[in-house]
């Protein structure tokens, strides 16, 4: 994919390209394309790379200057994201804070919270993880049970979170907790910012199906945080949390798109290498997945075009995640079929090659950020306006 962003940002684009060329060298260059949104692979290198980016002033391109950002616009943000993905720079270790938590705080945080936290995200001094899910609250996030009670100038927190991506590395968590013990569902929830460096917080790593230490479960036993570290109003945590989901959908389009395009190219090459032995049915399945990636590209361009024109994105933005995640899983199955028996052999110690890892990790894409079934519920009810199913 080659995009022309127009003359207004030509200099900016050139600056980004040059900087990436000059700094994506050595160890960083060796880790091109490594990592993903929920991925711990090559963590230390990626963290060092984030610090390199911070030093170059490339984190928070569109964040306000008073909080350490560059104060540029959405267009520059997209241009940089695009150049970044094009250069195949490693996936940012601090992606959660940069793409989800930070923008949420910019939109909804208090002035003091913004001044306290945002600059340290941009200098990679403090790492953040998202504590929404619980063992009993996944898709049904409104049934969160972890609770917080006021105590003097603090909140006292008890309960458990799970599937916390890179929770084991985080200095801070943004957690959704119940602050009104008598409340039900999404009423009475609040969003708290909680430091992990305290005796009341215990983080245990969970190994994922690819063998990686990627996410964690977090136990709160009389853990504490300051009373003013609630984002938005007390009891309005549901709205705050929903805000991050909106952001989650938009920000990952371009890098994901370029990654998928590269994978599709690899798939086509692998199929081509089979020569005449490639079964006709597989040929057509390869074409179909290649087409799906092209269609995804146009779908993303439509959304970006609308965002840049200052319009609310149309229905295509709502189907993008479902289409991309289900297609990616299909493509993984196809790639492994084309690889044949040789593709089933791993390195020693369950070391996986890129195709094996990509396939296994893709299985999470139809789960996190709203499982495919939940996506279909949302599309049906919120986009198509179908009647809601009876709910408690």
């Amino acid at each position: 994919m080659e995009l022309d962003f127009g003359p207004e940002v030509a200099d900016f684009r050139e600056e980004a390209r040059t900087w990436l060329d000059e700094h994506l060298v050595g160890e960083f260059a060796e880790h091109r394309g490594v990592g993903g949104p929920t991925d711990a692979e090559a963590w230390d290198v990626r963290l060092a790379w984030d610090r390199e980016l911070a030093a170059g002033g490339w984190l928070g391109v569109s964040w306000p200057e008073e909080y350490g950002g560059r104060g540029l616009g959405l267009l520059e943000d997209i241009v940089f994201t695009y150049e970044y993905a094009r250069a195949r720079a490693p996936y940012r270790a601090t992606g959660n804070a940069l793409d989800l938590f930070g923008p949420m705080l910019v939109a909804l945080g208090s002035e003091a919270q913004k001044r306290r936290f945002l600059p340290r995200i941009l200098t990679v001094e403090e790492l953040w993880a998202q504590g929404f899910s619980e063992p009993g609250a996944g898709s049904d996030l409104a049934s969160v049970r972890t609770r917080a009670e006021p105590d003097g100038g603090d909140w006292v927190i008890n309960g458990q979170k799970t599937w916390t991506t890179m929770g084991q590395a985080a200095d801070w968590l943004y957690v959704l907790v119940r602050t009104d013990p008598d409340s039900r569902r999404h009423r009475g929830l609040s969003m708290l910012l909680v430091p992990t460096d305290q005796p009341g917080v215990e983080v245990r790593t969970i190994r994922n199906l690819a063998g990686q230490d990627e996410f964690a479960e977090v136990f709160f036993t009389d853990a504490r945080t300051r009373a003013d570290l609630v984002v938005g109003e007390v009891g309005q945590g549901w709205r705050t949390a929903m805000g991050t989901f909106g952001i989650e959908r938009g920000s990952t389009l371009l890098p994901q798109q370029l990654t998928f395009e590269r994978e599709a190219e690899t798939l086509v090459q692998a199929a081509r290498a089979r020569g005449d032995e490639l079964e006709p049915e597989l040929r057509h399945r390869v074409v179909q997945e290649w087409m799906a990636i092209r269609i995804m590209r146009t779908t993303n361009l439509r959304t970006i075009g609308e965002l840049l024109a200052g319009r609310a994105p149309g229905a295509q933005a709502s189907i993008a995640k479902l289409y991309a995640s289900t297609g990616h899983v299909r493509m993984g199955h196809l790639a492994s079929e084309i690889a044949g028996p040789a593709g089933q052999i791993t390195g020693a110690g369950y070391t996986l090659d890129a195709r094996q890892r990509t396939f296994l990790v893709s299985l999470a894409e139809t789960i996190y950020g709203g499982a495919s079934q939940i996506q279909r519920n949302i599309i049906g009810e919120q986009v198509l306006g179908l009647p809601r199913e009876p709910r408690p």
Partner: protein, 380 residues
């Protein structure tokens, strides 16, 4: 990819065009109109056709001003096709505009354009392209009809079939072979030696005919033997426009399904509140919006190409046809399913969409045919 793709999809003028066409069709291509016309042999309303040409200028939309058109491009045509697909308009628009006018324009034959395009643009001429023969092939090898020099001109001999609106066209552009290769020949409806037989069609909303040529006097359009690239390029444009029509039909079938799912009550609840139905509708929307992306990519490629920017029109067209054929068929089928028994009746409109989807699926080549073309392009 060009800059215009990032500055929004359609401009204000284009949205206005959409509104004008939509409101025109909502008055003149109602379900009753469609049912009335599909029962006739001609399959269209000549008076409405003339109004489309003279009042709205739809036939001449993408014909240059020098030939009586208004000189817009494929993006505008795409909008019109999408709207026509929504209402299943019964008219020889695809045959006339996407196939015949496009082939004339592409031929580079200025004299033929001057003589033949103004009538099309004005809504006076119905035209078509006669390409396929008994085997139903859309490639160069499918052309076996022959043309020979006779007197000062040419005569065409052979049989063309599955020709869209071939029985009502005033002007037929025929692909026929000479010793130099495939050429394009213009034949008038009343020409001596031309026999036209309307074919009974499964999809009654788009008519087809068989044309038998016995030494029919014809006019060579363009250069002798050099027509295949012209035809291929015409088919690529038509593929994108047909895809736009398919998109419109699929979008409308989805609307019908969603509307019904919201009001039909079973087990004490609207059926749309059951996930089996809701998720099916969500999948239909996913298909429709993805089909829209496939169409837009095709339209952008055509627009880029027309503006002299590099674009792989053949790939974009094959992708649009392959995707939209499958998507329309699937969505129209699901629309019947969601309607249950009533969807299986002649009286309900759901079957009209299924049938249009099926006939569009094979028109200009099936999804498999286009995927095969892509496979070859990808070196598979």
């Amino acid at each position: 990819m060009a800059h215009h793709t990032l500055t929004g999809t359609f401009g204000e003028e284009q949205e206005e065009l959409r509104q004008v066409v939509r409101s025109f069709l909502s008055r003149h291509s109602t379900e009753a109109d469609v049912r009335g016309l599909m029962a006739t042999t001609a399959g269209y309303d000549p008076a409405l056709w003339r109004r489309m040409g003279s009042e709205l200028g739809l036939q001449g939309l993408a014909i240059p001003e020098q030939y009586g058109g208004s000189g817009f491009g494929c993006i505008e045509l795409g909008i019109v096709f999408e709207e026509m697909g929504r209402t299943l308009l019964c008219a020889p628009y695809l045959a006339t505009v996407a196939l015949a006018a496009e082939a004339l324009l592409r031929s580079g034959d200025g004299a033929a354009c001057e003589d033949l395009l103004p009538g099309i643009a004005a809504g006076e001429t119905v035209a078509t392209l006669a390409l396929t023969e008994e085997g139903g092939r859309w490639d160069e090898r499918g052309v076996t009809a022959r043309a020979e020099r006779a007197g000062g001109g040419w005569v065409v001999t052979g049989t063309k079939t599955y020709v869209p609106d071939g029985h009502t066209a005033d002007l037929v552009l025929v692909a026929a072979r000479t010793r130099a290769g495939v050429g394009l020949f213009a034949v008038e409806a009343g020409a001596r030696g031309l026999d036209r037989t309307p074919l009974p069609t499964l999809d009654q909303t788009r008519k087809q005919a068989r044309l038998d040529f016995r030494a029919v006097p014809a006019r060579l359009v363009g250069v002798e033997g050099a027509a295949w690239p012209v035809i291929e390029r015409t088919l690529a444009t038509a593929a994108v426009l047909l895809a736009a029509e398919q998109l419109g039909g699929a979008a409308r079938a989805l609307e019908l399904a969603v509307e019904y799912a919201g009001i039909r009550v079973q087990y004490g609840r609207p059926i749309g509140s059951f996930q089996a139905i809701k998720h099916l509708c969500a999948d239909m929307l996913t298909e429709v919006e993805s089909a829209r992306s496939a169409v837009y990519e095709g339209l952008w490629a055509l627009a880029d190409d027309a503006a002299g920017r590099s674009a792989d029109v053949a790939v974009a067209a094959a992708l649009a046809q392959a995707y939209c054929s499958d998507a329309y068929t699937r969505v129209a089928g699901d629309c019947v399913q969601i309607h249950g028994g009533i969807g299986f009746t002649w009286e309900h409109s759901a079957h009209l969409y299924v049938k249009r989807a099926k006939s569009s699926e094979v028109l200009l080549g099936t999804a498999s045919y286009h995927r095969e073309r892509l496979a070859v392009r990808l070196g598979l």
